[in-house]
Symmetry: C2
Subunit: 113 residues, 2 copies
DNA sequence: AAATCATTAAACCATTTGGTTGAATGTGAA
DNA sequence: TTCACATTCAACCAAATGGTTTAATGATTT
């Protein structure tokens, strides 16, 4: 089973530019830490720490594949934080009823945790 | 003129439960720090620091009104972070084209900063 | 079996964070 | 003017953060 998303952890993970860049890179294509390291000015050990923080926030998954750990995005935590913000963003709320009609989900009842 | 939104600051501001609770409370109704303090177990000085962090992230505005400073939400920063996340959330992207038709805006072109 | 490559672990460091308390400032009310 | 109230400022503290370097682990290649 999967753990519940920790909102503190998710936003905290997203508050660092290096970590958001990791997300950007993985958005295009899966990669290992070594492959990612090329795009960052920090040590791969530091990068590994950032990856662990993202994993702990359930923003990405690590899958052991032979010599490598393949990193890929996990939508779950991003969606949770998206829902939190969208609830408090009027711009979004204004479009919510219309949106719900389209995607067939109800997200307008009750504040997120 | 208004400053550009600092993504680090916005997500960092959102990563604390007390600060998210401030946003929740202000979502319903404007308030002063003293009024908010009732709902928190920390000192009003600590709360004042949290408010300053939210202000610095452009998530809320402080307006001097006599003896009080009235706090109210500013949608700008929340929308910016919403856009960032939505770009990397597949769930959302899947609904984006449909949504854009409805709200008549284009947000699918180009990654956010 | 030895060498190499990808990753993790551990110790360390400077800075930031989230809280405290006590004092200062500014405004409104008595 | 004096008193009370709302807020800010300053000094302090413990814990967390983001980086470093060196060493250890584990899988693949030679």
């Amino acid at each position: 089973m999967s753990q519940p998303v920790d909102t503190d952890k998710v936003f905290s993970a997203l508050s660092d530019g290096n970590r958001r860049k990791i997300i950007e890179l993985l958005h295009n294509k899966e990669a290992s830490i070594i492959e990612l390291a090329e795009f960052f000015p920090i040590s791969f050990q530091a990068l590994s720490k950032h990856v662990n923080i993202l994993e702990s926030a359930q923003i990405l998954n690590k899958e052991k594949k032979g010599k490598y750990r393949v990193l890929s995005l996990n939508q779950k935590a991003l969606q949770t934080s998206l829902e939190w913000i969208s609830y408090y963003s009027n711009f979004w709320n204004e479009s919510f009823d219309k949106l719900n009609v389209i995607i067939g989900e109800s997200k307008t009842d009750g504040a997120p945790e």
